[in-house]
Assembly symmetry: C2
Homo-oligomer: 332 residues x 2
Amino acid sequence: MATTAGKRNLITDIAGMRVGQAQDAGVATGVTVILPEAPVVAACAVAGGGPGTRETDLLSAGAMVDRVDAVFLSGGSAFGLGAADGVMAGLKRAGRGFSLVDRPGVPPTPIVPGAILYDLANGGDKTWDGLAPYATLGLEAFNSADKDFELGRAGAGYGARAGQHPGGTGSASIVTTEGFTVGAIACVNSFGSVLMPGTNAYWAWPYELEGEFGGGRPPTDYSMDPEDWGAAKANPVLGQNTTIACIATDAALTPAQAQRVAQMALSGFSRAIRPVFAPFDGDAVFVLSTVSDAPVPDPLTVTRIGELAASTLARAITRGVHEARKQTGAVT
Amino acid sequence: MATTAGKRNLITDIAGMRVGQAQDAGVATGVTVILPEAPVVAACAVAGGGPGTRETDLLSAGAMVDRVDAVFLSGGSAFGLGAADGVMAGLKRAGRGFSLVDRPGVPPTPIVPGAILYDLANGGDKTWDGLAPYATLGLEAFNSADKDFELGRAGAGYGARAGQHPGGTGSASIVTTEGFTVGAIACVNSFGSVLMPGTNAYWAWPYELEGEFGGGRPPTDYSMDPEDWGAAKANPVLGQNTTIACIATDAALTPAQAQRVAQMALSGFSRAIRPVFAPFDGDAVFVLSTVSDAPVPDPLTVTRIGELAASTLARAITRGVHEARKQTGAVT
């Protein structure tokens, strides 16, 4: 039996994992929350030159807290880091969080790392006065969390652009022959292009499963100029581009193994987007391991999970743009 | 005019840059030194799970010394870190190095960062007693430095393996239309394979220039199982695999820009080798900028240099294996 995509081909193919999304059409932005049913081991790798993140220092080796309650991805540039406030409000209401003092009236602290992308110049109405809308969107996203969720123009990818193409939210999953699952979600606002210059083939085409992004392939006599970036953004500005993502697996990773998987997952950006990790990009990926009562995997299994994280992330990125292109009529 | 490879298609297409190599056939190992004619701005990015490096902390932002005299790449696992001793001996004889105290009898200190790969189990005679041979090989490599050098089974790649294929030393270069050059050298001892599973096409085929690695292409109906790693190593052991590399450019990068280019160059590993950045790998890349009396490039130019570093590194990696395969009769 070959390795296959999961039932939904979404990160929610991981048991207990839900995703919530909220968007504001007027502001042309949105928030995505990745919500496991219990605290999970987490790690993060940042490879872009212009990141915007929250609670990532807590994920460093040696930090006191090594489980997180949720991960958020948000539009809004640094304003979007407020999305965690809404997610924390939802988690507090649910009685969830890390508890230092177990006494009535002392709430546990929800741990919600996350990252943002830049969509402030996408034409939406950004004239809000006072508090930005992201905390409210974060709570809405939390409350909408479910197994099924929209791809393309939704959540944190709602107002995004991927090179010269509409950006969006993508997700994918894979199930190994012995039954563990790796899922990915990505909100794609990249400087670089996901398409090979001059073709209708996505860079990630070798990783495509079951025609999930249209089956385009490069011609066998394909060649390109190394300085041809195809549909990359023409006039990038620092920090206006970013692909932010989250991987989840039901393999029982240690924090150090999750960090290794995060580093390996970065290859998913490299194989799906070109150029990538530019000074303009804030590319970052989180990794969540939802199972802790199973044997710790050996290094070869960690390598398999890391490579599946990379290929599943490349697919999620590509699906995000492909679904957004379908919704905007660019492809059918 | 399209972007083209440099005259030699080697990292030595950078003005003033030489490469020296030495190898010991009995020990089945070797050393490579990348030798600019004057101190250069340098940076390093490490992405593998089992690195072996020397003087890389000195490259961190804020360190006192921000120029290096040479970079070494070596076989020999951590024993190979001694190669720098020989390179330093050669530089001292030439009166080169960083001088804190300018007084007769007080030598300047040569600054020689570098990284190693694991070739201790490749069948060579590793029964040396006392000091390892790497310092001597380092000085030999220094003394042999020239514009032309051998690819394939030479230098630090002499005893290497790339997945199930012979590993080796590769190099490549590119010249932009306005005339700046990016060069790369890589010693390939990867856990992962550089070939797409079941094909004679290298993963890096879209980046190939002028048939430099044989022109193999995947069939248009190509598909693969996401868990098929093709000719990756079957029984990897921690820290026994590594691709180590160096980029050079005559663009006048600041240390921070060189660091950004190093991060972008990591995509070259991701696009040429699969899986990559595994717990078994010590993958690391240095970046050298040889020119300091020119305008600092803007962020878009840094992005171009970073993307060219990635593609040139992917080509250098692939050439290293391709040349080694030719020398061992695997391809013609």
